[in-house]
């Protein structure tokens, strides 16, 4: 009998301890809804050519394609940034060349990230063509 009482007392104390712990234990804060940052409107620009050198400003559409292909052969970090900037080129062909170059460098994720930042028909068209050429 005494053993049972002791066991019950132990159980009671354990329950109280669990209750106190449950009362005082730190709780996870409710995750706050993270509002997605507004997607900035896409603005085409050919200013990216200046990053390759002032002498490269004002190139024609096909010349910008050639610049993309030449830069792609460099395979350095600076050229990679240049290719990403070239995705904003107003010419679909130039942007596609940049996307193709990035994809060839194994940086297709950059293209997809760009497409997420600037969703729309243009980005989808670039991705579809990349898939076609893969």
């Amino acid at each position: 009998m005494t053993g049972i009482v002791i066991a019950l007392a132990v159980i009671l104390l354990a329950g109280i301890a669990l209750g106190i712990f449950a009362w005082l234990a730190p709780r996870h804060a409710a995750p706050e809804a993270v509002e997605a940052a507004p997607v900035p409107p896409w603005q085409s620009t050919t200013e990216w050519t200046k990053a390759a050198g002032e002498e490269f400003a004002g190139l024609s559409e096909s010349a910008r394609c050639d610049l993309i292909f030449a830069v792609n052969d460099l395979r350095d970090e600076r050229s990679g940034r240049l290719l990403v900037h070239a995705l904003d080129d107003p010419s679909d062909a130039v942007a596609l060349a940049a996307a193709h170059a990035l994809s060839a460098r194994g940086e297709r994720a950059s293209v997809e990230a760009y497409a997420q930042q600037h969703p729309g028909e243009r980005a989808q068209r670039i991705l579809d063509t990349l898939t076609l050429l893969s």
Partner: protein
Amino acid sequence: MRTLADVFTPGAPSLSEGLRTLAVSPERELEPGMTVRASFTFRNQGGAPATGVRVRFNLPEGLVYLVGSGTLDGGVLDDEQGNSPLLARAGADIGDVQPGEERRIDLAYSVAGAIENGSTVELQAAVTAFELPPVGSNIVRLVARSRPALENALTGISLESRSHEPRAGGEATVTVRVHNAGESSARDVVAVAPVPEHTTYVPNSARVNGRELERDLPAPFDRVHAPVIAQTLPASATVTLQYRVRIDEPLADNTVVAARLHVASQETPAFTVEPAAITVRARAEFADERTAFSIEPASDAAPGSRVQIRLTAYNAGTAAAQDAAITVTLADGLHPVRGAARLDGQPLREKKNAALSFDLGTVPARETVELALEAVVATPIADGSELPVRAVLRWNGGEREFERTLTVRSRPYLHRRRNGIDRTGPVTVRPADEIEAAIAIGNDGSAAAHDCVLQLQIDPALDDVRVFDKNTRLDLTHEGVELGTLDAYASRKLTVRARVRSPYADRSEIALGAVLHAQELGEVPLGSASWRVESHPAFSSATSSLTLVQDEVFRPNQLVDVHVRLRNEGTDNAQNVRLRLYVSPEARIESVDGATRDRSTLTLGEILAGATAEIRLGVRLLRSLARTHPVAIEGVVTADAMLPVQLAPLTIVTTAEPNFAIGTLRTVPEEIADAGEEIEFVLHVRNSGDGPARRAKLTLEPDPLLIYLPNSTSVNDVPVRDAGAQSPLINERGLLMSDVDPGVEATVRWREVINNNAPANSAIVRRVKIAYDGDRTDEIAAPEVTVRCAPAFANTISGLPFGLDGMVGPSLGHTQRALTGSEFVELPPATPVSRPMVPERAMLSPAATGNGHGHANGTHHSEDDGGHVAHAVQLLAAFDRDRLDRTMRFVGEARFPGLVTHLFALRAFFPDAIGGVGETTLRELRETIRETLDRIYIKLRVANYVLAQRDLETAAARSALEAVLASLDEDAPAGAAGSIQLRGTADLDELRELGEDLSGAALATALPWAALARLIPGDGEAMQHYRGLLIEALDDLEEADETAFIDALQRRPYPVLDAALDVVRAQMTAVRA
């Protein structure tokens, strides 16, 4: 603790003297411009080095650092701008000074140009280090020695007239300048500059450096003998004393006014300065406004009026004017009035000569002389004439000219008494008469009247207006006559002639007015002349008449148009015009157009003079008109204020005659009658003429086919006696009718029987001739009757009293008319049918792959299609479903004009394994081709892009291809993953030969692509076909240069090849499905 920057600051106590090593030269006194040299030496007396040692010198006031003189142990310390750090707040950093080491600083100053005498200059140097506070040197005190210098070239006195030329009564300015050219200030500078003789001090005008002086003086300036003009005059400074004086007046000419000056100060003894002087001129003067010349009136002087000329001469000078005289000169348009000249109000003696020169004698200073005279303006004279009046005032030593201009206001004047228009001739005129009026124009003014225009006010009743100047006809334009300029006191007489308009109303008043326009006078009415018109209307049979509209002979009952024309030949309008008509009883007026009819009177109302009234009468001739009885119409014209006028009678010639031309002759039966049948002829004849027929004879020619039925002739159902056995119509005498009035109609009937002997189809034509009034003949024909014969067995004929054997049967009817021609049906032109051009080979049905599940049977090879291949290289391309989808999409989308489409097909179907070719080598070629074609694919998206040679092939690509071709052999290719496989073979020898050719071929030509085309696995009939066509197309371009190859790639169409590719694509898509 004081820092080095704190020492030597203004107001700060001197630094204690810790080092007595500052040596200065000179030692005691200095003078302006002198160089002071300082030398400061110090030694590190301690046992440790002094670090960060800095040395500074003070720069006392009055000393200037000599650039480049600051040295450290002989080395210059100045910076680039010449500043010495020794004089800077932080001093000069000279680095470390080791124990026992000695340093020497040298510096030189220059004494300023101006330094006060007795002032003290203290020099001290200081040195400090990181470890040591500033230590001052001994202080060297120098005393400045200097003095002022007032007697120099800049010290002086000047006397200047305030006016251009010194003159008596004028002002002059005395300027005293005392300049201290010494090095120190001058104290209590005294200037003795008394007011010059012949002048008077202008009170309170004394200024020292622009500041009033008298307030500091105990008495007015001119009463203080030696005023102190500057308590202290610093070196190089100047004090200026200035005051004004008035030159005495009057004063003798060439009087010299001299200003003198004595200067002294505490340091400078008195000295005399060179005096200044001016020479004063005194003379007579008539230049101011009090000397005036005037004329009155100054403007708008009328011709003939008097002009007052006045010259007032006031000697405003300081000396008397000797031998003064006035000479007046008048213009031509001014005449002096003799005896009217007055000098100071007193008449002058009249001179016979007209010279207007007047002696005035001596005119003392500030005295006035007035000369007045008169002149008369001449006439005539042009308006606006400017008459100058000149006067010259002369005196001993000068003269002055005066001029005034008198403007003349002169005007022309047309007096009513001498300007007007008068009638010439009687007051009563008739239309078309000529009238005449005289116009008189006279200018009584003193000026000419310009741009004169005579404006006539011409009555509308006047025509042909002419203006004459004597016998010269003037040009009359818009009722105006330009007369030009009418000189002063000139006159003109003009004659106006005109003709009274005709016609014109009686008792009308005619006026001819005239107005003269002149530039100066404006409009000047000249009055008017008037006439009275006497006028009447008039008609005559010559111009007023009754006429027939149609000149022909008229018939009874005919409406005759009569034209009535009434012309008013008079000169006045005809009022209440009436035309009374007298018409023959055989006619009557039925209509009147142009007038109001009252029975036989036509009322026309008013007919203007010269106007013509037109009336159209409709006159109906009566039926009872005799054959040639003329109808007459007479007319009488009446109107107010005129006598009746009889018009010429109008005779209308008439005629009336019978006419039997209209009539009908019909038969019963009509058209066809059987032989032996009775025909009744009915003649309707009518006198359709307008006159009766006295005698009308109707005759009929006998017809052998007809037999008259006796007693069958009747006229208006009245039987007519036969002439023998014949009808009276057939008789020569004929059937006579008399007095057949117009409109009377007669019906003549007779019957005849057709002779049964008449041949079938004989035509019976009966014509009745009607002769009437002896000379006219008409004919009336009956419609043709065709004889129809029929068999006849009877021997009797109705109406015939006897029998007759022999009958002729009727003829048969007509036959059916056959068609004369056949109808021609023209078909429309055939429409060309366009059929799409189907490539012959593209029509081949796509063959499925061998196993039917997309797995090609490798036992059939493309080269087998062309025959046996001795050495073949095996090709394999494998696709999974996704890759096949992408490949088909790529083939579908990579469609461009030209052969370039099929380069993309090479990319699509490039084998994954080739016999003998290593995986790495093949992958390198594949990647090279893909990269090249991907770039082309991208660049072709640029609008109007033209491929370049560098786009097509690179040296690396060529090397990769050559490597592949070099390693080909007949071994089986390695396996490739993919559920759909394309297998094929290529001619190994041919490829090797191509590989050898590649080494010498230019880049960007068709040869490498031709080799690549052979690497396509030609699995299946469609693929084999396409492969063959592609190889053939590229082989054709093998000899083409780069430009031609690019042209084929982008411009040349390949429809058959495109279709073959479509078939391949369709087949592959089917396989995938």
